[in-house]
Each structure stands twice: as C-alpha cells, then as structure tokens.
Amino acid sequence: MQRRTFVEFGAALGLLQATARAQATQKVEPAPLRIGLTAVILADQAAFLMRWSDYLGARMGTPVVFVARESYQAILDLLLSDQLDAAWICGYPYVLYQSRLQLLSTPLFNGKPFYQSYLIGQPTPPVALSSWGDLKHQVLAYSDPLSNSGWLVAQAQMRAVGLMPKDLRRSFFAHGHRNVAEAVASGLAQAGCMDGYVWETMQLKKMPAAAQTKVLWRSAWYAFPPLVSKLNDKNPALSALGIAMHNMTADAQGVSLLEALNLTGFAKPDAAIFEPIKALAASVGALRT
C-alpha cells in the first residue's frame, strides 16, 4: 500500500515538472518576424524560403516567417496595417510611401544596389519589334501597377515616344514579372516590361518562359527593390534582420542562399539612390505627395 502511494506521488510529481517545463518553453519563444515578399524575387519556391527563414531565424534568435502576396499593394496594405514587420517591395511603392516607411536593407545585384527594367518580346515575332514606338497596335503586358520596372518605366518610355495607352491594341497586368515573361512567351502579349533581375534569374535557372523571350530594350539603372519596415518601428528583431542579411556573405550557407537568389549580398540602405525613381514617377504624374 505504501509502495503504491509512493509510485502515485512520483507520477504526479513528474507530471507537474513536465507541465512547468512546457510553460517555461512557451514563455521564452519570441514572436516570429513576418516578412512580406512580392514579385521582386521568384518567391514561389517553398523549399528555398524555408531554408532562408531557418537561416535567418537561427542567426537572429527570432523565428522568421515569409508571407508572399501576388500584388505589391497587398503587401503594402499588410505592412501598413501592422500585419507584417518588414517587406521586400519595389522602389516605386517605396517612393510613393516613403513618408511612412524606413529602409532596412538593399540587395546587391552583381555587387551593386541597382537593376534595370527590360522590354521583352518573342524571339521570332509575327511583327518585328525593336523599340517602344513599334508597340503601336500591339498587346503589352505589365507586371504590377506599383512596379517600377514593370509599369512606371514603361509609362515614361511610351510617353517619351508619344505612344498613348489607347494606341496599344490591349494592355494588361500579369501580376508578376515571371507572369510577364510567360505571357510574352505564350503569345498572349507581343511585348512585356519586367524586372531585368528577375528575367536574368529566370535565364540562369533555365526557365522556359525566359528561354522563349528575348530582351528588346534595357532601361537605365534604378535602385534595386529594398527591404523596408514601417517608419519608427522599434522592433529589435528588425535591426537583427538587417545584420543577419548583411552577414550572409560571411558563411557558406548564406552564400549558397544568395546564389539561389542570384544576388551578391545585402548592403546598408541609402535613400538617395531612389531619387531617380521618384523623378520618373513625377515625370509621368504618378507620384503622390
């Protein structure tokens, strides 16, 4: 009888200890850092994103969760409504919402924080296209209404050559740079404007849509889409995120991830490099003040 009482007591004690350990673990688990992703990168690669989030989480001491959305506006809405802690957006929405956002980091493409906008077409089109003026009566695919390379640059160029939207047979948004390439490759559109970095990465990864298109025109260099957070967000994990990104070149795993992203690193942000985009937006009357 005494022995049975002893065993029951031991079991109850063990259960109490396990419960206490579980409560302690829950208490020390920090809230994850939610980072929004847009079409500025090829964000539909779940295995890569898991590796990257694990990498960043391990170095920051804070779990990282990537949240992808198809449109820039959706990510901006989530960020500005505090449902995201950070976001990787295009330079054009950054300059649009610069008063409410702060730069966290700027990716380096080929060692520089710049990229180009591409006008792409079919390798053997029914109607030869070589310049923006040739787009008259053609179907043109844009990436996103908040994309610098996939819309803003095209607007400025069309305006420069005197081509009005009504002069196109049709234009449409493909909701992503990759979709622009696919729309042109399938013949849905005769031409498309998209992020040059994304097209080059697709080429690097031998994606069919990139192989079935060619670059008709390249823009000037613009600031690479930055990682931003809401202005005055004092979350310490954000600064840890910036440090972790900057240090990715320091270890093999980080370099491997950068190679998968077709980037050479992340640099400290410089708001001045976005001035050309701001000017471009102003030139087409697309800058809200």
Partner: protein, 489 residues
Amino acid sequence: MLPRFPYRIQIPLVLALAVTLSVLLVSAVTAQIAARNARLEIVSTVQRVVDLLVAQGKPLLAQDDTWRAYTLLRNTAALLPQTSKGQSRAALLDVQGRFLAGSDPSRLPTGDQALGVLINGRLLPTVSDASRPRILTTPDGGMTLIEPIRSADNQIIGFVFAEVDAAAFAPDWATLSTPALIGAALAILVLVPLGWWLGRRMARPIAQTADCIAQIGHTDAEQLQLLLPQVKDPELMHIAGAVRQLLKETSARQANAQRALSAERLAAVGRITAAVAHEINNPLAGLIMATRTLRLHGDQPEARNRSLDLIERGLQQVRTITMALLPQARVEDRCMTPGDFDDMLTLARASAAQQMVTITSATHEQADLYVPSTVFRQVMLNLLLNAIRAAGQSGQVHARLSIETHKVSFVLANTGQHFSNERLQKRLMTNDGNDPHGFGLWICHEFAVRFGGGFSAEQAADIPPPFTTCLNFWLPNLARHDPQKPAPD
C-alpha cells in the same frame, strides 16, 4: 482447302476464325457506338467547360483581367478533348466580341475581333446574334460553342468561346480495338488447343469406323464388329450402326460364298469326271469300232493285226489319260508317228460317216517326228470330232499334219460353224466348265501351253476353198523326244 484438313486442325481453325470474325464485327459495332457516344460525351464535356468558364470568367471580364483569364482558360482547356494536340481551344471574349484571352493565344490573339468574323475558317455570329447560346457545326464535324456571360442585372459583359476541330471527334480505333484484339488473342490461345483436343476427340470414333470399313474384306467381320466404337452421338451412332449392319451382311455373304465355293468345287469335280469320261469315251468308241472290224474281218491277218494295233494304241491312250489325271504321275509316252494321224482319221471317219461329213487330209513331212503321241493323238481326235460336229450334215472337214524341223502342226478346217481367233481366245479364257466342247478346246490350249506350242484360229490361206478359217495346233518338234521335261507352265 479447309475440308482437306483433319478435324483436329479444322476445328481450332474454324473456332479461331469464328472468334476473329466475331471480334471484328463486335469491334466494328462497338466502335460505331463508342464513336457516337464519344461525340455526345465530347459535346457534353465542352458544354460543362463552357458553363465553368461562364461562372469563373464573369469577374475576370468585369476586371478586364487578361492574365487571370488566360490562366483560367489554360487550365480549363485541359478538360477539352485533344487540347494537347491543338484540336480544341477556348477563349473569353469582351463585350465587343474581341478576345480578352485565349487558351491558345497564337490562334486566338488577344484583342482581335472574334464575333462576326472568320475565325479558323468558321464565320462566327455577330455580337447581337450571340446574345443567346449558339452551337455551330461545320460540314466536317467540327463544333463551335458561343455563350454569353451576363452580369447580375442580365447585361452581356462578354462571351465564352469554345472550339473543337473535327479531328477531336474521330474515334481512336487503336484504343477501341486494342482490348478486343487482346481478348481475341487470349480466346484464340485457349481455343486453338481446346479445338485441337475436341477435334481429335470427335475424329477418333470416325477414324475407328473408317479403319473398320477399310479392313472389310481383309479381316474377319466378327472381329471388325468388336473394333467399332461405342458412341452416343446420334450421327456417329447412325454411321456405326450402318457399318455394323454392313459387317453383318458381309459376314453372311462370306458364309454364302464359302458354301458356293464348296458347291463349285463339287461341280468342278463333276465336270472333270464328265470331261474324263468324254475323253475316254472317244478312244473307247474307236476300240468298239476296232472290235467290230476284228469281228467282221478278223480272219484276214492284215486287218486283224491292224485292228489289234488300233486296240492296243487306244487302250494305251486311255491309260495315258487316266495316268494324266494324277498330277504327280510320270507318264511314259512314245513319239508320235504318221500312223497316229491315220489312226485318228480312221476313228473320226466313223462319226463323220454318221453325219455325211467328208474328211480330206494331207501330210507334209519335212523332218522326223518328235512330239508326244498321246497328247497329239488326243488333240487331233478332239479337234476332228469338234470339226465334224461344227461342219454339220454333209459338211466338209480338212485335216493337215505338217512336220517341220522345229514344229509339228495339226491344221484343221471345216465348213459350217467356225471360230475366229478372237472368239477362240475368248472361249479359252472363259472358264465354262459346263461346255464339254469348250473343255476340249481348253485341254488343247493347256497342252499347247504346257509343251511350249500354240493353239490359235487363223485364216485358211493355204487351204483350198470352201474353207475360210482353220484351227492350228502345234508343238515344238524336239530333236529327241523327252517326255520327262515338258515346257514350263
């Protein structure tokens, strides 16, 4: 061709042929039905796809979202038949009837006018004509569906366009016939050995019956009846019954034949007896006549001696004939002399006198005589008596004995009935034992054959008229007489 094969080959072949024909017929009918059903199914599928696009395309048309319309069409068109082969396609049209997006942008270009113009060789209805669902068919069997998409307040905001080429409706004969062909092959695999076994089983009683029929006449009928198969098949039972009946009849016929053979043998013995009596009767008649001569002229020494010689030779002839009846008997015979020819003429003249028949004779001696006397005497007497009988009342008979170096011929011609050589040979070949005259001729023929001579009817060319034909019996004239060695049979 086929009936030449045995049943064990015919049956599997016929079964395989029947299965193959059945499979072909069933496949053809099935394929026709399948093709008809396939068209109905395709039309139904296309209609469902159109319904889906009407529902899903409405917000995309409202937002003028070409890309999402394209992705919707690209994914939905996979439900259409033969899309991967480019035989079907779908599109969303805006309210003006232009392509908002198409599943195959190269054939359905974005922004191009669709309604009211020729698309892929088909003239589509105008926007106003497409206010209700339209199904257009082409002469080659292709189909185009156009269905308007309406907003909540029943306004047309766009159209769904779906097109299926005629080739997509074509039945896939290979796919349709493959299961049937596999089934036929499996059936043939089973039926060929089964048919071979059945054919052999069916043919076995027939073969046994055929063997029995083939052995009829060679094997005892009673034993053959035991070899006949016991069958239950009505037709085979009928055949076996008929064969059994045939065997019974054959058995009965064989018994009758055996009895007839015994009777024939007895009759033959009788005929031989009659013939022997006939042969002996002739010399006996001569002997009687000689005794009469002896009685009348016995006091004259010459006549007495001549009659006694005649009696002696006649008795010797009778003895020889009776000895000849013993196959193994060794007949002691002497060589014939010209006197024997005279004896026979003397003997025959008694019969000739009774019928007023004139007998003339001639002898040509060119060599010595070396022929058996008994045989030649019997032949000469036989032929003389036959000739007298054939010459009839007041007829003429001419006999000639020719003795040459190599043969001795007895030629006899008569008026009245006579033989052609063909008729003579036919008579000799006919075993008419009931005719004593025929038997006598046959004996002459047998002597000629046995002693290497000949017996024939010829034209009487070297005999003066009125004779036209003659009988010629000859034996080889040997250098010396050797009665021990007759010519081989």
